[in-house]
């Protein structure tokens, strides 16, 4: 049996990486931190919701649909689950738009602090859910 190229990972560990990167002053680190914060939340939600019987993961792009929809169910986080989709929108903007992004009216740019805090809140909420 060959040695795995990538070991199994707990996606919530991306949060620590995001926090470490966010401290750095360079923009590459900040934008990567935003990306990791989103994926920490998304992947942790998917895996925890699956392990607790809330959804069946596809392990592909389709999970971007099933995770926010499942999170918003009353049995899961309810409307609070909406924040996962907000995180995704924010992450898309920060990752794909390489121009200067400012915190200004109607800019739809979220700070790295908001990304990390929101991601952590979602992770905490999902981890506290009972098994179904």
């Amino acid at each position: 049996m060959s040695k795995p190229l990538y070991n199994k990972i707990d996606p919530s560990s991306y949060m620590e990486l995001a926090k470490q990167l966010a401290i750095n002053a360079d923009d590459s680190s900040k934008r990567t931190a935003a990306d990791r914060a989103y994926y920490a939340a998304f992947l942790t939600c998917r895996d925890v919701l699956a392990s607790k019987g809330y959804l069946v993961p596809q392990y592909n792009l389709d999970d971007h649909k099933s995770v926010p929809q499942t999170l918003k169910s009353i049995e899961a986080l309810g409307s609070r689950g909406n924040d996962e989709e907000r995180l995704r929108s924010a992450r898309n903007r920060i990752n794909y738009d390489t121009r200067e992004l400012r915190d200004q009216p109607q800019s739809a740019v979220c700070s790295i602090n908001w990304m990390i805090t929101t991601a952590q809140d979602i992770i905490n909420g999902v981890q506290a859910l009972p098994k179904r």
Binding site: D62, N82, P105
Partner: protein
């Protein structure tokens, strides 16, 4: 679906618009510059008719009479979603979008059709109930909610996923706007328990929320 009067025949009909929440039909539109069909702001004027004319006049009488039954594109869109809700009396319909304590919530006609295509008739009723609860909460808690933008979002990654996003514009900083939205979440959850199963599922799976700020 995009409706552009410059590319449409003059007698173009949209009978399926009757399925909308306030039931109106776009009977015709102009396809060439004509002073009688072009208003001051340069918009082509469409002839709008409502199946229930009496109800329409009772509610929007002044608005309609001002324009002799010809509503501008935006006016027709504005009729699609109303804030405040029907339970709140509108003293003067002609000032519908001007009163300071009301929230602007207009949707272009093509966007209205796009939203309708995602939500269906049941979903449109759900959306109106969501807009009502947002308005009532905003008034009750004195939020600086300026306007609500309703967008159809085609997901960039999941091919078959389309949903509706309500973008709430607050005259505040981002942190405050974020807090307002978080206070709205339990209210939406309460609304969800009062909806029937189909409507609750639409609210859960097809309607999402985000905030924008307009404070300089």
């Amino acid at each position: 679906m995009v409706i552009d009067s410059r590319e449409r025949p003059s007698d173009f009909h949209y009978p399926d618009l009757k399925k909308g929440p306030y039931e109106f039909s776009l009977l015709s539109c102009a396809n060439r510059p004509n002073s009688s069909l072009l208003d001051n702001s340069g918009f082509y004027i469409r002839k709008i008719a409502a199946p229930n004319t009496k109800k329409y006049y009772r509610r929007f009488g002044k608005l309609i009479s001002h324009r002799r039954n010809y509503l501008r594109y935006e006016d027709a869109s504005r009729l699609a979603f109303t804030i405040p809700p029907e339970s709140v009396s509108i003293a003067n319909a002609s000032q519908f979008s001007k009163e300071a304590d009301q929230i602007q919530c207009s949707v272009k006609l093509e966007d209205f059709l796009a939203i309708q295509s995602v939500l269906g008739s049941v979903g449109m009723k759900t959306l109106q109930e969501v807009l009502d609860i947002i308005w009532l909460t905003s008034k009750k808690l004195n939020w600086p909610l300026e306007k609500i933008q309703i967008d159809k979002v085609k997901d960039p990654e999941v091919l078959d996923w389309q949903y509706i996003r309500l973008l709430l514009f607050f005259v505040s900083d981002f942190e405050s706007a974020d807090n307002f939205l978080h206070k709205l979440y339990p209210i939406l959850d309460e609304l969800s328990t009062k909806l029937d199963v189909e409507q609750a599922e639409i609210l859960q799976k097809l309607i999402f929320f985000d905030v924008q700020t307009t404070l300089q």
